[in-house]
């Protein structure tokens, strides 16, 4: 008896976005990262081309984060005051595909650091590591519009991924990314329509769609991951069905969100019944990441080296690379 094929063929594909530029293409990176390109539902390789495998970006802060839980602190306390060393550690020891520099320090409430400080940090990281860089503003519109243009210019040619453009504030960052040849993150609050609308707004300014990565904001396991999952899934299905404005790769912020959960932060004394504090946060981050992988994400921002290594293994297995 012949069994009918249940292969699903999709009309559309996720666009490929390349982050980072080597010497030949005007930058200083030794390697670049290309994401996107999927022509099928994640890991359903019998349906079609899976495109580029998802990558891990590890977060680095321009100023030492406060109240980092012990399991994280253990790995980062020696480098927390030096973003360049922090980045180097992530790249060389922990296997990060990209570094995500979060410029929290420029926020008026968190240090109000100057543009020059931010530029210095960016340059030091670019020197310290050879992998591509994501540069994420502080999400205070006024400060971002002031600092990000200068940071962008300082990293011109490196084809970084800069964020974020929102419906309310997209013009400045879009213009500088366009001018300096960077890629751009467009952000929406777990909303397909707004996600699409921001993409329309920035492409209206002449920004090419194949340099955009979408961010729908992230909810960790137990903290709204279902909403996030279904938005990513709907977005991916729309992209594969041929909706051009939804066809950009997707980034998610797992590390920060997972380690905000009380399940990740509570110590053994505070929650003895919840199992080992040393393992719990790692598991929380890992499960959040592996869950979202199934929904169709291309770049995962992460914190803990152990979680990173588990998730990378997981991706290898799913992508049948082992």
């Amino acid at each position: 008896m012949q069994i009918a094929s249940i292969e699903e063929k999709w009309a559309g594909a996720v666009k490929e976005v390349t982050i980072g530029a080597t010497k030949e293409s005007g930058g200083t990176r030794e390697s670049v990262v290309t994401v996107g390109g999927a022509r099928c539902i994640p890991f359903m390789d019998f349906d079609g081309d899976q495109g580029n495998r998802p990558v891990i970006a590890m977060d680095v802060y321009d100023l030492p984060p406060e109240n980092l839980p012990e399991p994280l602190l253990k790995h980062y306390k020696d480098v927390m005051n030096d973003p360049a060393s922090w980045a180097k550690k992530c790249a060389e020891e922990y296997g990060a595909d990209l570094i995500c520099l979060k410029l929290d320090g420029i926020h008026p409430d968190k240090g109000n650091r100057s543009s020059n400080d931010a530029i210095k940090t960016v340059k030091s990281i670019l020197e310290a590591v050879s992998i591509p860089l994501i540069i994420w503003g502080c999400e205070n519109d006024e400060r971002d519009n002031e600092v990000m243009p200068k940071v962008s210019q300082a990293a011109a040619g490196e084809k970084c991924l800069l964020g974020v453009a929102t419906q309310e504030n997209y013009k400045t960052i879009t213009a500088v990314c366009l001018a300096d040849g960077h890629n751009l993150i467009t952000q929406a609050p777990v909303d397909i329509n707004i996600g699409k609308q921001v993409n329309i707004l920035v492409t209206d300014l002449g920004f090419p769609l194949d340099r955009i990565v979408m961010f729908q904001t992230t909810g960790a396991l137990g903290y709204g991951i279902e909403y996030c999952y279904s938005i990513h899934e709907r977005g991916r299905v729309a992209a594969l069905s041929g909706d051009g404005q939804m066809s950009t790769p997707v980034i998610c912020d797992v590390g920060h969100e997972a380690w905000r959960a009380k399940e990740a932060k509570a110590t053994d004394e505070e929650a003895p019944q919840w199992g080992s504090f040393a393992e719990r946060g790692i598991m929380w981050e890992t499960i959040t990441a592996t869950t979202l992988l199934q929904s169709g994400v291309d770049i995962i921002r992460m914190y803990h080296p152990k979680a990173v290594s588990i998730v990378k293994d997981h991706i290898d297995q799913l992508a049948m690379k082992v």
Binding site: Q167, E168, K171, D191, I192, N193, K196, Q197, I200, L201, D204, Q245
Partner: protein, 641 residues
């Protein structure tokens, strides 16, 4: 306990005094003095439209953010929040007043030729609901000794070709029958009215008065009441008259009015209010044309379901409560005097039928006016008021839905929005240098912007890059017209010097958001309605757009902002106040009256409130023109060029 003190309130510029008990608000005082003050929220202190100037005295008013510090210095207060504690003098400023109660009527109503053309196109034959018949009978003899009434009935039967048993006569007519028949020497004029299968003799007079037969068609809108006087011997429109619906003082939308009526046990008063508006217009018309009220033999009323309930004093409460049930959709004809309408006391009022709580007689009447029941191909009929009602169908089927579009396109909820009345800006053009040109209804100084002007405004601002597709102002444009006031950006359309009010006429960020939501609701509703019938917009051959936007509507702009689907403008027809046109047709054609009833029973109500797809469709329509650009290819092309 001491007795409540009363205070004297002096309203300017009306120069009206009113005595009112302490503790009432200035808005209450204005109501009792029958002075109109803009109040969208019906006195809840949230709309900020009821600003008045306190020129003498003190009031007890809580602080409010709705009055700017500049206004506060000039003694502006909110009438609905200001409690009376002593004698006062209140100046009602121009923008809060309702001026010159006259509304410039739609050209369709003013131009008899146009009406004739519309009527001609409808193919309804002239056969009014009430007719005057001049009958000459043989005088009775010993051989021909049938009773007076039966003699009259036989004459009617012969004249009208009806069965004897459908003719009915009230006892009050019978009482005067012998006298009038003999006085008239067996030649009399009878007035007969259709009441379902019955033909009722409602009046009898001596001599031939058949030429003196008039009827009234009324559209009772939530905002305006339009009354049209017609000659029933022909299909001629003699004149029209419009007033604002005085119920507005109880809330600007009908849900608020229903709440007001129930909470304050005020249904009777509210009925009297609307009847008084109608009587006023009728009196104006008969006086102007020297017509005897007794010669007005019928009235046909169209209006949304709630307005018909108010008119008939039917309990409206279940309209606003799940599962949204009207007291009656079909109302049998009754004597107009029963509800206090001044026409011939024996004559009949015909209320046109509704479909549901939110699809009323304005829609059934409108659908008949455009002859949706004769369309071979699928048509879309959209009537935009406080609710946007949409009908999709053809001669074989019709489905309808109602979208709570909000009153933004009627001018409410928009800082300088106003109804399509004299002084309303109805056309706006903006150049690439951000210069604004406009025209107003009645060619007077502008006082505000009506629906068509607001629609133009959004489309033009989008074209010139003053707003982006989200409707957000682009703060980097080089124009002094764009300015920040408080926390909000606004664009000056007409400077104070050129306006007919004491301030600049502006459009604010909040106004734009309201209008975008409003158009989004309409588009979402129509797209879901089309989709739910398994059709696409390409399957719609004609789109009829009705409503009180203004005299003029730029159909292309309605597409550019994404209110109407992207289709050739040649397939879109702006048809004005179809509710009134349908009522006029019903008045002069029994066939039209029956068509409205057939349409009402044929129409299927499609509930959007319970539709899970609606919210999603609404969200994606909250963008200019739409999040799915593929639905608006011509707009994408237009904006990129």
């Amino acid at each position: 306990m001491s007795e409540n003190k009363t205070h004297k309130i002096h309203f300017l510029p009306h120069d009206i005094y009113v005595d009112i008990e302490e503790g009432n608000t200035v808005l209450d005082a204005a109501h009792s003095a029958n002075i109109y003050i803009n109040s969208i929220c019906g006195g809840d202190g949230i709309c900020g439209k009821c600003k008045v100037v306190l020129s003498k005295g003190k009031v007890d008013a809580p602080p409010t953010t709705l009055i700017s510090s500049e206004e506060s210095e000039n003694d502006y207060i909110l009438a609905c929040e200001a409690k009376i504690i002593e004698d006062l003098q209140i100046l009602v400023p121009k923008e809060t007043r309702l001026e010159g109660k006259k509304i410039l009527l739609d050209q369709h109503e003013q131009h008899s030729l146009t009406w004739a053309a519309v009527l001609d196109k409808s193919h309804f034959t002239h056969n009014p609901l009430t007719k005057k018949l001049f009958l000459t009978m043989e005088a009775p003899t010993m051989d021909d000794n049938i009773a007076d009434h039966e003699r009259l009935c036989q004459a009617i039967m012969m004249d009208q070709g009806v069965e004897l048993n459908v003719i009915q006569t009230d006892i009050s007519i019978l009482k005067k029958l012998p006298g009038i028949m003999r006085q008239g020497n067996w030649s009399v004029t009878v007035t007969v009215a259709h009441r379902g299968p019955v033909l009722e003799v409602v009046e009898i007079e001596t001599g031939d008065t058949t030429q003196n037969n008039y009827g009234i068609a009324i559209d009772i809108g939530t905002t305006t009441v339009v009354t049209c006087l017609m000659e029933l011997t022909s299909s001629k429109v003699i004149d029209s008259e419009a007033v604002y619906n005085s119920q507005m003082k109880f809330g600007e939308d009908y849900i608020q009015r229903i709440i007001y009526a129930i909470q304050n046990d005020f249904l009777n008063e509210m009925q009297k209010t609307i009847v008084s508006d109608i009587n006023k217009t009728i009196h104006t018309l008969v006086k102007r044309h020297e017509i005897d009220l007794n010669n007005i033999t019928s009235v046909v009323c169209a209006g949304n379901t709630a307005m018909i309930h108010f008119l008939l004093c039917l309990d409206p409460e279940n309209i606003r409560k799940e599962p949204y049930i009207p007291t009656a959709n079909f109302v049998s004809p009754f004597r107009a005097t029963q509800i206090g309408i001044d026409i011939n006391p024996r004559c009949i009022l015909y209320a046109l039928p509704s479909v549901s709580a939110y699809v009323g007689a304005d829609i059934t009447s409108g659908a008949a006016a455009i002859r949706l029941d004769k369309e071979e191909l699928n048509c879309l009929f959209i009537d935009i008021g406080t609710n946007g009602e949409i009908v999709l169908g053809n001669k074989d089927w019709m489905v309808c839905c109602s979208a709570s579009a909000g009153p933004a396109f009627e001018g409410s909820g928009v800082r300088h929005g106003m109804r399509a009345a004299k002084g309303a800006v109805e056309i706006i053009h903006i150049t690439r240098d951000y210069e604004v040109s406009y025209s107003t209804i009645g060619n007077v100084k502008p006082k505000g912007i009506c629906g068509s002007g607001l629609l133009d405004c959004i489309a033009e601002m989008l074209r010139c890059g003053i707003v982006d597709r989200s409707g957000n102002f682009q703060q980097d444009i080089k124009s002094e017209r764009l300015r920040k006031k408080g926390d909000e950006y606004e664009f000056v359309l007409i400077e104070k010097e050129k306006s007919g009010i004491e301030t600049d006429i502006v459009i604010t960020q909040a106004d734009i958001s309201n209008l975008v939501r409003s158009k989004g609701a309409i588009y979402a509703a129509l797209s879901i309605l089309i989709e739910s019938m398994g059709l696409s917009i390409n399957d719609v051959s004609l789109l009829y757009l009705a409503g009180g936007f203004g005299n003029y509507l730029n159909v292309r702009n309605a597409i550019t902002i994404g209110m109407l689907p992207d289709m050739p403008t040649s397939r879109i027809k702006f048809v004005g106040n179809t509710s009134l046109i349908g009522a006029k047709m019903a008045l002069i054609s029994k066939e039209a009256f029956e068509t409205v009833h057939n349409i009402a029973s044929q129409m299927t109500y499609f509930d959007l409130m319970g539709n899970p797809k609606y919210m999603e469709a609404f969200m994606s329509a909250n963008f200019l023109p739409h999040t799915n650009l593929s639905e608006f290819p011509s707009v994408v092309e237009e904006l990129s060029s």
